[in-house]
Each structure stands twice: as structure tokens, then as C-alpha cells.
């Protein structure tokens, strides 16, 4: 009798637990703030860049890209954006210019990476202020890559950098001016430079003590074509220090708008604010 009861009890427990554990295995979470899990992607920027070079059409000089920003927790709008962007026939890549997440959580960046993975073309991600909240920086760096990085596509250099000064308590490390100086120096084989960063210098979240030096560096550079930003959730264009370099701010994915840009060698041929 005793043995039978024990058998039945053990049998029931095993069935109970295996059923539920199998059912929910992918949903096991150790903490919303964990830096990675079993299923989270890694080094997406490096992977997307190598795909970009694989897909490169060497017979075409024009670079066509879409700049999106501030997806935050607007997963549905981001999914719609992917559908709209996929309709472009000749597109090289897409920028996801910061505030990928709203709360700096792994779950959010995972979902957004999943959504942007639906793009036909590669996408490059830049860090935003919301991505630096809580453990966000570590999550971003593992999933996407460095906060400051650059790449050369065709003959244009794209300098992606972190301008989220407020998240570093304005400690002068963001933007990283020595790194930028190095990135902007030299490069005889480069026709033009384009800068991409989340917070525009006009925002109070950009260290205003560094603004002058930052803008001068860009405006005075002979090969600088344009600087792109997001963050303020409205589209605008300005020419700081009455220079010739446009600072273009994209609207947010939350507001269902993005920028479409065309560049040929040393010229910003076209840019368009697209509402969808």
C-alpha cells in the first residue's frame, strides 16, 4: 500500500513539473535586468556589417539608407516600419539610431532586434539615453556592439557615436572628443564623412560645455557631409555655426516617421522625411 501511494505521489509530481517546465522553458527569466539569456542575439552590428559588405553592389555608387530612431516600446509601429522600409527596392541599410528600448531592459532590445530582423537589408544600431538606463549599457554592448564605432561603406565613412551626455552625469566622456578627433583625421581614400548619434547638440541632454568644440570639429571638417540625430521626437534641420554641414534630426518611430537618405561620394544628394 505504502509503496503504491509513494509511486502515485512521485508520478504525479513528475508529470506536473515536466509538463509545466516544458511548456514554459523559453520563458524562464532570472531577472528583467539580466544582461543576456540563452536566446539573446550577440554582436548584431558586426554581423549586420559583414552582411552589408556581402550584399554590396559594386557597380552602383549611390548609398541609400533609412534612418530610424526612438523605437522605445512602440513594437507595433516598428513592425509597421519594417513593412514600409521593405518596399524600397534599392536600399543599402537602415540605421536604428538609439532609444531602442524604453527601460534599458534585455526583453525590449530582444523584441526590437527580432522586429528589425524582418528587414530585407542589414541594420546598424546606435545607443540612446534610454538604452543606458539600469543594466542597459551592458545589454546593448553585448547584443549590438560598441557605443562608439565607425565603418566605411563604398567611399563614405559613417561615424556612429554616443552623445548621451546626461547618462554619464556630464563627465565629458560623451561625446568622446579624443576618439572623434582620431576618427575624423586622415583617410585620403574617403570621399565623405557622415556622423550618426542619438542626442543632438541642441538638446539639454547633450553636454552644452562640449557643444562648441563638437560642432566646430564637424563644421570645420572639409569632408563632413551631414550629422544625423534623433531623440527629440520631431524632424528638423539646422546649420550650426552658420556652416555648410546640415544637422538633421529624425522623428521617432513612435510618431511613425523616418528619414530616407541618398549619398554619392562627397554629396548628400537627397534626404526626405517619410511619414507612414
Amino acid at each position: 500500500m505504502c509503496r503504491f501511494v509513494m509511486f502515485r505521489a512521485v508520478y504525479f509530481s513528475v508529470v506536473f513539473l515536466t509538463f509545466l517546465v516544458f511548456y514554459g522553458c523559453g520563458r524562464l527569466e532570472y531577472s528583467p535586468n539580466q544582461i543576456f539569456d540563452k536566446y539573446s542575439p550577440r554582436d548584431l552590428n558586426a554581423k549586420n556589417l559583414s552582411r552589408l559588405y556581402e550584399l554590396q553592389d559594386t557597380t552602383d555608387d549611390t548609398i541609400r539608407f533609412v534612418l530610424t530612431g526612438d523605437t522605445q516600446r512602440a513594437y507595433d509601429q516598428a513592425a509597421r516600419l519594417v513593412k514600409v522600409v521593405n518596399r524600397y527596392e534599392k536600399l543599402d541599410f537602415v540605421f536604428l539610431n538609439g532609444d531602442i528600448s524604453d527601460f534599458g531592459l534585455l526583453q525590449e532590445m530582444k523584441i526590437m532586434a527580432e522586429v528589425y530582423d524582418g528587414l530585407k537589408v542589414p541594420y546598424i544600431s546606435i545607443i540612446g539615453n534610454h538604452d543606458l538606463v539600469a543594466n542597459g549599457q551592458a545589454v546593448f554592448e553585448r547584443m549590438f556592439g560598441a557605443r562608439n564605432f565607425s565603418f566605411i561603406y563604398k567611399d563614405v565613412k559613417f561615424v556612429c557615436h554616443d552623445t548621451n551626455s546626461r547618462e554619464y552625469h556630464f563627465d565629458k566622456t560623451a561625446p568622446d572628443l579624443p576618439w572623434l578627433t582620431q576618427e575624423l583625421a586622415g583617410g585620403a581614400d574617403i570621399a565623405g564623412i557622415i556622423g550618426i548619434s542619438h542626442v543632438p547638440p541642441v538638446s539639454d541632454d547633450f553636454d552644452q560645455d562640449m557643444r562648441q568644440a563638437y560642432e566646430s570639429m564637424i563644421v570645420d571638417h572639409p569632408k563632413y557631409l551631414a550629422n544625423f540625430h534623433s531623440h527629440v521626437n520631431s524632424h528638423s534641420i539646422s546649420y550650426p555655426q552658420n556652416g555648410a554641414v546640415p544637422f538633421i534630426i529624425s522623428n521617432a518611430v513612435i510618431n511613425s516617421e523616418f528619414l530616407y537618405v541618398e549619398v554619392i561620394h562627397d554629396k548628400l544628394v537627397r534626404y526626405e522625411n517619410v511619414a507612414y
Binding site: M6, L17, C25, Y30, F103, V115
Partner: protein, 207 residues
């Protein structure tokens, strides 16, 4: 930071006890047990409060259908940490299905818990010197969760008289925190229940 974490945990414990005391006091008078002695011990895997978490449980009513658990959880570096998490969890067991003489099934147990992340990346409030008021609205350290669990209770004594424990509970718990819920309700297409509710399972030894 550790000291602050401990203080929060202790004050949490005290404040919850102040409110819980009225309920518990009757049963203490009857049983003669010291109120601070836990009625159960809990060991849990995952469930958003640590890779492994462990703690003690108190009964908030006579039958022990409502429990308060105080847990410490850890996520090691190899699992996406290091993270140190303190949790206060309340759960109700409104339904009980008797399984012959060896067990009880509590099929659907709603609950609520608050987790606190210690460490320099997490704060219960934003630094006023750095952020304008209302810049960010949520707390990075304190996370409220809602939960639902299934628990299977085994009564070892009825299986074999020499077994020491009164009851052993095996449970599976699903939880969602407030940030996941907000994102869920805002995104009907992309966000699913599977993405919003996270799982954990555990073992409870009743004394």
C-alpha cells in the same frame, strides 16, 4: 549599496509585518509559536527574482492559504548577472483539490510581489541633480510584479510515517512586471502573453 539593500529589506519586512500582525496574532496565540518563526522555507529557480533564490515563508491567515515570502536571489555572471535581488511576495491559494491522502493541488494561485535590485546600476529614485523632474518615471531598483502559480503539495507523512516534513510544495509561477505589462497592452501585434509572463519554479518545505 549592500547596506541600503539590507535596510530596504528589513523595512519591507517590518512594514509588512505591522499590517500582517493582526491576522497572524490569533494563530500565534493558539499555537504558542513565536511570530517571527517562519512556517516554510522556499527555494526557487528563475521567475525574475534570481537564477536561484531562497527564503522563508510566513502564514498570513490561520489556514496558511495566504503566505508572505521573503527571498534573496542571485544571478551569477555566467547567467547574465551578477545581480542581487530581494523579494517580498504575497500569494493566495483560493482553491484546493485533495489528491487522495497524499497530496493537495492548489490549481490557480494569484499573487503579487516586489523585487528590489541592489547595486550601483539600480536606484529606487532618480538623481535630482542630474535629471529634470519627471525625466524618467519608473524605478530601476524596485519592480512590482503580478503572478499566478500552480502548486502541488505532497504530504510525506501519509506516504511514509517516518518522513520528517509536514508538507512539501512543488510550484510553477508565472509573473509579469509593470513595465512588461505596459509594453504588452500598448502592442497588440508584437507583444504576446508568452513574451510578457515569465516563468520560474520552486520547492517549498512546510514546517
Amino acid at each position: 549599496m549592500w547596506r541600503i539593500s539590507l535596510w530596504v529589506m528589513v523595512s519591507c519586512l517590518i512594514s509588512l509585518h505591522v499590517s500582517a500582525q493582526d491576522i497572524v496574532i490569533d494563530s500565534i496565540a493558539e499555537s504558542g509559536r513565536k511570530w517571527w518563526l517562519p512556517k516554510s522555507a522556499v527555494l526557487q529557480h528563475a521567475g525574475s527574482i534570481g537564477y536561484i533564490s531562497a527564503g522563508v515563508g510566513y502564514d498570513l491567515n490561520k489556514k496558511g492559504k495566504t503566505t508572505l515570502d521573503l527571498l534573496y536571489g542571485h544571478v551569477p555572471k555566467s547567467k547574465g548577472g551578477p545581480l542581487n535581488i530581494f523579494t517580498a511576495k504575497i500569494a493566495w491559494r483560493p482553491f484546493a483539490i485533495r489528491l487522495w491522502d497524499w497530496g493537495i493541488l492548489h490549481p490557480l494561485n494569484p499573487g503579487f510581489f516586489i523585487s528590489y535590485h541592489g547595486g550601483r546600476h539600480f536606484d529606487s529614485k532618480w538623481d535630482d541633480n542630474n535629471y529634470p523632474k519627471g525625466y524618467y518615471w519608473w524605478s530601476t531598483a524596485i519592480r512590482p510584479h503580478i503572478s499566478i502559480s500552480h502548486e502541488l503539495i505532497l504530504i510525506p507523512k501519509n506516504i511514509k510515517a517516518s518522513l520528517p516534513l509536514d508538507k512539501i510544495g512543488l510550484y510553477v509561477e508565472y509573473n509579469a512586471n509593470e513595465l512588461y505589462l505596459i509594453s504588452h497592452f500598448q502592442n497588440k501585434e508584437v507583444s504576446t502573453i508568452q513574451k510578457t509572463f515569465k516563468m520560474g519554479f520552486g520547492l517549498r518545505a512546510y514546517f
